[in-house]
């Protein structure tokens, strides 16, 4: 027992250490022990508190703070403030601000806006379903018309599946963020429309802009990305890449070089998203869009998105492609899951419009002939240049020489438009949000060709524009 007394257990070894350890060792250990004791007993210091302010000072700060007004005042003569008022339907003959004109401003390419068959299909749907759907697709908002429209669109475009949205803008703006997330890379054309830009912003991915229709620039960016990948192969294996292009660009009126893009796709392993709002129902022998125009296998494009507000003269939009890709949007497309579905009468109108497109494939030839005619007629107007392909139904007329500031250009073009409107041709300027666009196009007048315009009307429009340019710009 005696050898296990605490004093024995503790004291003996210490005594041994003190006898046999060198002196400097003992001194070092002693200093260390004293330091630990000091640290244990010294006052802990906190990081300086963020607010040393007293409550009274806080009150004063709150009193003094003045916010900006919610919105800055808009000058009364701002060009975008006073809308044109259209009385009656915006069809071929349109009444704008009380004056009857021929419509060269609405995207009613196939003239289906006042087609009697389309209207009666919509009427039948209205009698059966009422107007609204009162719910999103997941909660009793899926009607048999929606399912039928999706099937018909998939069959028309020859893809496996299609999904419809209730708003054209929301279609591509919800489709892109469903696939491309933070850390992924998207190569997008500079002239992409605003809806694509918002989709990209919502996706939080890395955006790389390449010059409009410049495949060399795109290849350069892709090569740069390839060298980056070789530095970090693990990251490269999980970073998705996409190219987003439009079939027929709204801002410039020309087409994207799709065959070269397909080659780049397989060479650099990037997926392609194609936005076909203007080219659906316009390009191609049967109106199937730019893939038919170039004769490309539709399975080579990963996703085609289009809105039904141009050729189909309805409201909403759709995406089509393989089931592997489209099915994902049914749970991750924000504009699909969290928004009410398309009113059935608009879906029925779109189905009937598709029927008409399938039954009369020669309207596409007629439309193309008219586009080429007006393209030719508008050449040679002094002061204005035509921007857009000869087969594009939506052209831009830009000033040949800018007069210094964008504001003055806009004013000048407005005078041209007013001259035409007073003489019976309804035109409009292309509208943009100047501060929000990534690459703001120059101000222009939009000229839209539809199948309903006769040759005399096309001639009249062209000569009127010549006259207007003469009187205003010279």
């Amino acid at each position: 027992w005696e050898s296990f007394l605490p004093s024995q257990v503790l004291v003996q070894p210490v005594q041994l250490i003190c006898l046999y350890a060198p002196a400097y060792h003992l001194i070092l250990e002693g200093i260390l022990i004293l330091w630990i004791i000091r640290l244990l007993f010294s006052k802990t210091y906190k990081l300086q508190e963020r607010s040393d302010l007293t409550p009274k000072e806080k009150e004063e700060l709150i009193e003094e703070w003045q916010p900006e007004p919610l919105v800055p005042p808009v000058p009364k003569d701002h060009p975008a403030l006073n809308y044109n008022v259209v009385s009656g339907p915006p069809t071929h003959i349109i009444t704008v601000n009380g004056k009857e004109c021929i419509n060269f401003a609405s995207f009613n390419f196939l003239g289906l806006l006042d087609n009697e068959k389309v209207k009666s299909a919509a009427q039948a749907s209205l009698k059966k379903y009422g107007v609204g759907t009162c719910g999103p697709r997941g909660f009793y908002g899926t009607f048999d018309v929606h399912l039928e429209l999706e099937e018909r669109l998939a069959k028309f475009m020859r893809t496996e599946e299609a999904i419809i949205y209730s708003y054209g803008f929301a279609t591509i703006a919800s489709a892109i963020p469903a696939y491309s997330k933070r850390g992924d890379i998207v190569f997008v054309d500079e002239a992409a429309c605003f809806a694509i830009q918002k989709g990209l912003q919502a996706s939080r991915s890395n955006i790389k802009l390449f010059k409009h229709n410049d495949m060399a620039d795109l290849e350069r960016l892709l090569k740069e990305q390839e060298t980056e990948d070789q530095k970090n192969p693990r990251k490269a294996r999980v970073t998705r890449r996409f190219i987003v292009v439009e079939g027929l660009y709204m801002n410039t009126g020309d087409v994207c070089p799709l065959p070269e893009l397909i080659k780049l796709k397989y060479k650099y392993k990037v997926r392609i998203f194609l936005e076909e709002s203007l080219s659906f129902g316009v390009l191609g022998e049967h109106g199937r869009g730019i893939t038919e125009h170039f004769g490309i296998n539709i399975d080579d494009i990963d996703l085609i998105s289009a809105n039904m507000e141009n050729s189909l003269a309805s409201i909403g939009g759709f995406c089509c492609g393989r089931s592997f890709i489209i099915d994902h949007q049914r749970l991750s497309g924000q504009g699909y899951c969290f928004s009410a579905s398309l009113p059935p009468l608009l879906a029925a109108a779109a189905i009937e419009a598709l029927n008409i497109m399938e039954d009369n494939p020669d309207i596409f030839q007629t439309l193309r002939a008219k586009c080429e005619r007006i393209h030719e007629l508008l050449q040679g107007i002094s002061g204005l240049k035509v921007v857009g392909e000869s087969f594009s139904p939506a052209l831009h007329l830009q000033l040949e020489e800018s007069c210094g500031s964008r504001e003055n250009d806009v004013k000048l073009l407005k005078r041209v438009v007013d001259y035409c409107m007073n003489s019976g041709i309804a035109l409009t300027q292309a509208r943009y949000l100047e501060k929000e666009e990534k690459c703001l196009p120059p101000p222009s007048i939009r000229v839209v060709v539809t199948v309903e315009q006769t040759e005399q009307e096309l001639d009249k429009a062209a000569s009127l524009l010549k006259e207007a340019a003469q009187s205003v710009l010279n």
Binding site: L53, K58, P67, E68, P69, V71, P72, V74, A80, Y83, N84, V85, V86, G88, P89, P90, A105, N108, L113, D114, V118, K119, A122, K128, Y129, G130, V131, G132, T133, C134, G135, Y140, T142, D144, H146, Y167, G168, F169, F194, K198, A202, T239, R240, R271, N307, E309, A313, R322, S323, F324, R330, Q334, F338, S339, A340, P343, T428, Q429, Y432, R446
Partner: protein
């Protein structure tokens, strides 16, 4: 014994009566209740999810080793060496949990979504991977899932006739944007009417409710501004806030102390790191929160907004037409002035039986939005027959069509709400939310009950909406009933009888706090002590 009981069945009923407190801000009792999850139920729910996850891993393993056939769609052969489009793990929940009860959602209907609806029958022979339609139609299902608060989803009547007339005159589409050639006289008429309905200076209408939020919040605030957003705000508000580029701070759901603390901190400390003062502060709240059934504490929010000089954006998607003695929304419900709310936003989908959204406010605000809203510049305007439906239904609610139909419907909805909620609480279910909200969430908790509830109710010819993760927190899955003025008392009684039966079958009556029916005296702390046993 009593202690263990109290521990196992710990419940706290939080009811607030602000007539006494808060200096008379509230002119009527504000009764909101969120009964706490019983401990045993929470444990069992976690166990349920655990079992499902284990089975999920097992099935994935079997699919990977080809023991079980993989029924997912797959990538093209030519693109197999591309970077995979989806992370395998992201889809784990989709493949293994959602797929089992997928038949509760996306149910296709083939009639007008009124009080009774016809559904297309669909069956699945491979456990919900694919569906086939048998061709039969299940008729006259009581519809407790569509947002049809005032019963304007009708296929006959003045609204439908007016819409038909406009359709034959104008056509279905518009083919242009508001600023270009898409501004019809119908739109101007609609906007004047909406401004009159809300009691504001001016209003603007848009084609999609979701897009109204996501395209106009970025036009109002930008970098250097602060957005204070409620925890449970809708996806469109969250997307709009993110797209604006402003700093976002979140306050606890409907919690005014949390909001005040954030406001104070924001003004006192300014922007993070640079300490510059904020340009403006915008508070985003909703009128009725559709997953909780709670109503925003508007009087307190307005008092805070005035004290701290910030701006209020009120999203009345579910509350316009559904609250208030004449259907003017949550502002009228609390007896406040619409001038106090800076931006009044709402949708036409729910109470007006149409589609689209609107924003109302002062003339400067609407002029600014006409010029700078993304939707006015780049998106197509509303379709004319839809506009006519809104105009007719709004005039009906306001009483301007010469009948009492609108007022009768608003009153019917309020009566239906009170009756339905009271009966459900008496039966012993846990019901969330405010007494006056026509959105009634009934708690289910366990994952298996989500699918079972939906299917059992459908067998009894009642269509309900069930929601689970990720729309709600993982253990708080629920069934949500949306009441309508078109529901008659017989329909509600039938529904209640069936809910009672299914509740007993699935053991859903979790509530420990049984409400004494027809309690006339106001609630305060003493009531709580009395009824807890």
């Amino acid at each position: 014994m009593k202690n263990i009981n109290a521990m196992l069945n710990c419940t706290k009923l939080v009811t607030l009566n602000h007539i006494v407190h808060n200096g008379g801000l509230y002119k009527r009792p504000f009764n909101e209740a969120f009964e706490e999850t019983p401990m045993l139920v929470a444990v069992l729910t976690y166990v349920g999810y655990g079992v499902l996850t284990l089975f999920g891993y097992l099935r994935d393993f079997m699919r990977q080793w080809k023991i079980e056939k993989c029924q997912n769609a797959t990538e093209r052969e030519e693109q197999k060496d591309f970077v995979p489009l989806y992370q395998d793990f992201e889809n784990f929940y989709n493949r293994n949990l959602y797929m089992r009860i997928r038949d509760s959602w996306n149910r296709p209907i083939c009639s007008v979504p009124g009080a009774k609806v016809d559904m297309m029958e669909r069956v699945s022979h491979d456990y919900n991977w694919t569906f086939t339609y048998t061709g039969r139609v299940i008729k006259d299902i009581i519809n407790m899932g569509s947002y049809n608060y005032l019963g304007f989803a009708q296929k006959a009547g003045t609204c439908q006739e007016a819409a038909a007339k406009v359709l034959s005159q104008y056509g279905a589409g518009v083919c242009s944007t508001r600023q270009e050639m898409g501004n019809l006289d119908k739109h101007e008429e609609l906007e004047k009417l909406v401004a009159r309905f809300l009691g504001v200076e001016s209003a603007m209408a848009y084609g999609m409710g979701f897009a109204t939020n996501s395209m106009n919040i970025p036009a109002l605030v930008g970098k250097g501004c602060l957005i204070l957003s409620d925890e449970l705000n809708h996806a469109s508000l969250v997307l709009g806030a993110r797209l604006s580029g402003a700093t976002i701070r979140i306050f606890k759901h409907n919690n005014m102390q949390s909001l005040e603390k954030l406001l104070k901190d924001a003004i006192v400390h300014g922007q993070p790191r640079t300490r510059r003062p904020w340009k403006k502060i915008l508070i985003l709240v909703e009128g009725i929160y559709s997953m909780e059934g709670s109503i925003v504490r508007l009087p307190e929010v307005i008092a805070l907004k005035k004290k701290y000089k910030s701006y209020l954006y009120l999203d009345e998607a579910h509350s316009i037409g559904a609250l208030g003695p004449s259907g003017r929304g949550v502002v009228e419900y609390f007896g406040l002035s619409p001038e106090d709310v800076d931006v009044m936003m709402g949708t036409f989908t729910k109470s007006f039986g149409a589609a689209g959204g609107y924003i109302g406010g002062k003339k400067e605000l609407i002029d600014y939005l006409r010029t700078y809203s993304h939707s006015a510049v780049y998106a197509t305007s509303l379709s004319p027959p839809v506009v006519e439906q809104i105009i007719t239904s709004m005039k009906c609610i306001m009483g301007e069509d010469g009948t009492n139909v609108g007022k009768a419907r608003v009153q019917q909805l309020a009566e239906n709400t009170r009756y339905f909620r009271r009966r459900l609480k008496e039966m012993g279910f846990i019901i969330y939310g405010n007494e006056d909200s026509p959105v009634v969430p009934l708690m289910l908790y366990m994952p298996a009950k989500i699918g079972a509830f939906g299917r059992e109710m459908l067998k009894r010819n009642i269509g309900v909406v069930v929601v689970g993760f990720p729309a709600t927190p993982i253990i708080e899955s629920r069934a949500r009933f949306c009441l309508s003025a078109a529901h008659t008392k017989e329909m509600l009684d039938t529904a209640l009888k069936e809910i009672n039966e299914v509740g007993d079958l699935l053991q859903l009556k979790y509530s420990r706090h049984r409400l004494v029916p027809l309690l006339d005296r106001p609630f305060d702390e003493t009531t709580y002590e009395e009824t807890e046993d």
